[in-house]
Amino acid sequence: MQLIKDDVNINFIGNRKKAYAFSLALIVISILLLLYRGGPNLGVDFTGGTLIQVKMAKAHTPAELREALKPINLQDSIIQEFGEKDLFEYLIRVQNPDIESEGLEDKVINVLSEKFGESAEMRSFEMVGPKVGSDLRDKASLAILYSILLIAIYISGRFELKWAKSITMTVALGFVIFIASKMGASIVWLSIIVLIATIILLWVLNLKYAMGAVIALVHDVTITVGVFALTDREISLSIIAALLTIIGYSLNDTIVVFDRIRENVARFKKRDLGEVMNTSINQTLSRTILTAATTLVAVISLYVLGGAVIHDFAFAMIIGIVIGTYSSIFVASPVILAWEGKAEKKK
């Protein structure tokens, strides 16, 4: 069976301006949304606070629950339904750092079962102190940063065989990190600074493939976070894991295309780069679509059947796979082409 015909020849490269516009629009919308909401919707992992998941025997509105929690001073917490409606589960998020976490679990259960005269069950309880919250924020930023850095270095070496330049870049970045940390920047800002520095360095050092890959990755992560902001979902630790996995997956895709481009560039030395890229993308199209399809099938199964706890993670993966596949086809290669184009013009 074959879904994609052998002689498929869609003009991806030709349509790249449209793709640029589309991607740019998505990125701009994402950034605007994030600015409008004052940053991503961070979970208790990063802001500190307490998150309690309770299961009641009957349905209740958040207002009812808030009223019930007044005696223990939790009426200002954020309460929402969690999971399927017939499970009667609710999330209580306590932001106030002055609330004693001592014995809080027992207090909540007692107060709720008292008020409604039904059984209340503590499904899970998470308390993150402010120190730990900022620690985890730092770790998450560093994780994303290091992944992108290591990948940039690996690709430069592997695809352009420019290990020397690769090492130069590593050293230069080390320098940047050093200076930025001396200036006392918070880790999150530091990561953003280093990321921008990386892209600049890649440009200066003419490491085109790495540049293409890194831009595609940043594109993917930004849009996924944007979709989360749009759907008002929380960014928790596991979502960061999802983002990193998306980076890995998108890169997977991108490398397959790059590999083919490299092979074809060697074979068709006379042809114009744009044409070669187009051919390469078309040749790998079958594989790209198929892999995306099977991975999506697996992840959709997780989304539908996996339960409420892993729900947001599965959602992130679905968005990431779709956008990641899109960026491997429409973003990574055109970026390189645009560059080559500039280099050509200079000649």
Binding site: R123, K139, Y249, I255, V256, T291, T295, V297, A298, G306
Partner: protein, 533 residues
């Protein structure tokens, strides 16, 4: 060629058998009777989000420990000065940096300095400025000594908590030190998190102090506390009404006896009303001290101070030898038992603060396992069917490899004692989706080669060799991400990273060796002519 084939086949078969052996303990039903000790015994380790349980991070307020050490030193030095008959005006702790001393007579300078440099080597002696008649010094605690004290406090805290948890009885408790004086505690399967937290948080500092009956307690409450005395409260919480009553006592500051001398603490029921109380046993030294205190203070009250509150202040009727004492209070059975545990295990050298807590109830844990596995099986079946339809017989071969890969992943988790968490299950589902990628790469290449007119065997060879490079590249980058996640992640995220890494390695092994082997076997040994791909 066929020898090569046979060797590869044997190695793969051995590999699979070993993997299955590692999986036996995790099978429902457990290990059979004859499963001897040489063979692997460990089930796959489940994360707390699947087992249910508590994950806690405590911070030891190590600076308090340094304060305590300094206070003790102050008491010690006072005793020493008295022995040497050196008069002092002032002898006080200064924060956590040191001790300020003001001597009354210049002549004592030399003796004092000698004493300090001989017996208190962890302090530097600094001149504290001149005084009319006498000398002022500041004893500064050396940096190494302070660091050492804080490190020691953290280690002692860890040990004490471990002892308490041992007594409480939690199977597979995991307690370890982290940076910055933090302790990580994981208690699987605990259903009463508040009680466990209380137990760990209790400083359990037990002190015996004499009640001051000479001075007026009312005067003291107004603010006129005589030197060497302090006001300490007895706090009673009525079990039913929740009302709290505070009764003040005027105590001598001097600590007569501490919990360090306790060898045993047991819960006993009062024969008259059945209420529980805690009976203590002292070691020899403690028994002697107790005998002396009670002997010297008959008809006075001895306050038992626990964590800064008076638990009770019984009258000393007579000298008590034999080293046994009793703590009565309004305990519940649980309270008494936990107090006994805390006293037996020893007091915490410094208070601890809860920095992070994640508790998952057992029902949610079970739910997560069920849902996780269900989605994994459904996802896997969907992928398997798809592969068979799209790639025909070759697809079925790919499916067989997928099955072997799954076995390898689970065996890898069991063998390397990795923890399976809910994100980890998600990771396995992802790996199933991505493992297919390697197959697709290979099959698409084979299709291309076939189109170029090559024979099935040649096409297979070419397909594999060309695809391998790409497969390795792509997997290495995902491996980089997994390693970064492992470095920076905690708890369930770390479990995800481990599962992902094992998954990637399993994928590579399966695709590079096993799928290749199956194809070679079919098309070389069994001499299949046509290829359905």
């Amino acid at each position: 060629m066929s020898k090569n084939l046979r060797w590869r086949g044997i190695i793969i078969a051995i590999f699979i058998v070993i993997a299955l052996i590692y999986l036996v303990p995790s099978m429902p039903g457990g290990m059979p009777q004859w499963w001897s000790g040489v063979l692997p015994q460990d089930k796959i380790h489940l994360g707390l989000d699947l087992q249910g349980g508590i994950h806690l991070i405590l911070e030891v307020e190590a600076e308090k420990a340094v304060e305590n050490d300094l206070e003790r030193a102050v008491d010690d030095i006072k005793d020493e000065l008295r022995k040497e008959k050196i008069r002092y005006l002032d002898l006080k702790r200064e924060g956590i940096t040191g001790i300020n001393v003001t001597l009354m007579r210049e002549e004592d300078k030399g003796t004092f300095k000698d004493m300090i440099s001989a017996r208190y080597r962890e302090y530097d002696i600094k001149d504290g400025g001149s005084v009319e008649n006498g000398a002022r010094y500041t004893l500064l605690l050396k940096q190494e000594a302070r660091d050492e004290a804080m490190k020691l406090a953290t280690e002692q805290a860890r040990e004490t908590i471990e002892n308490r948890i041992d007594e409480y009885g939690v199977a597979e408790a995991d307690i370890r030190l982290l940076q910055n004086h933090r302790i990580q505690i994981q208690l699987p399967g605990v259903s009463d998190p508040d009680r466990a937290k209380d137990l760990m948080k209790k400083v359990a500092e037990l002190e015996f102090k004499l009640v001051d009956t000479e001075n007026s307690i009312d005067e003291a409450l107004k603010g006129n506390v005589p030197p060497g005395r302090e006001v300490v409260y007895e706090v009673d919480r009525d079990r039913i009404s929740g009302n709290v009553t505070r009764t003040p006592y005027l105590l001598k500051k001097r600590v007569e006896l501490t919990g360090k001398y306790i060898t045993d603490a047991r819960v006993t029921l009062d024969p008259q009303d059945g209420s529980p109380y805690v009976s203590l046993s002292f070691n020899n030294q403690g028994a002697r001290i107790f005998e002396r205190i009670t002997g010297e203070n008959v008809n006075k009250q001895l306050a038992i101070v626990l964590d800064g509150n008076v638990y009770s202040a019984p009258n000393i009727d007579e000298k008590i030898s034999g080293g046994n004492a009793v703590i009565r209070g309004r305990f519940s059975m649980d309270d008494a038992r936990d107090l006994a545990i805390a006293l037996r295990a020893g007091s915490l050298p410094a208070p601890v603060k809860f920095l992070e807590e994640r508790t998952v109830g057992p029902s949610l844990g079970q739910d997560s396992i069920n849902k996780g596995f269900l989605s994994m099986i459904v996802g896997a079946i969907a992928v398997v069917i798809f592969m068979a339809i799209y790639y025909g017989v070759s697809g079925l071969i790919a499916d067989l490899s997928l099955l072997i890969m799954f076995v390898l992943i689970m065996a890898g988790l069991a063998a390397f004692k990795g923890t399976l968490t809910l994100p980890g299950i998600a990771g396995i589902i992802l790996t199933i989706g991505m493992a297919v990628d390697a197959n697709v790469l290979i099959f698409e290449r084979i299709r291309e080669e076939l189109k170029l007119g090559k024979t099935p065997r040649t096409a297979i060879d070419a397909g594999f060799s060309k695809a391998i490079v790409t497969i390795l590249d792509a997997n290495i980058t995902t491996l980089i991400v997994a390693i970064v996640l492992f470095q920076f992640g905690t708890g369930p995220v770390k479990g995800f990273a481990v599962t992902l890494t094992i998954g990637i390695v399993a994928t590579m092994i399966t695709q590079v060796f096993i799928t290749r082997f199956i194809f070679d076997y079919l098309y070389t040994k069994l001499n299949w002519k046509r290829i359905s791909v």
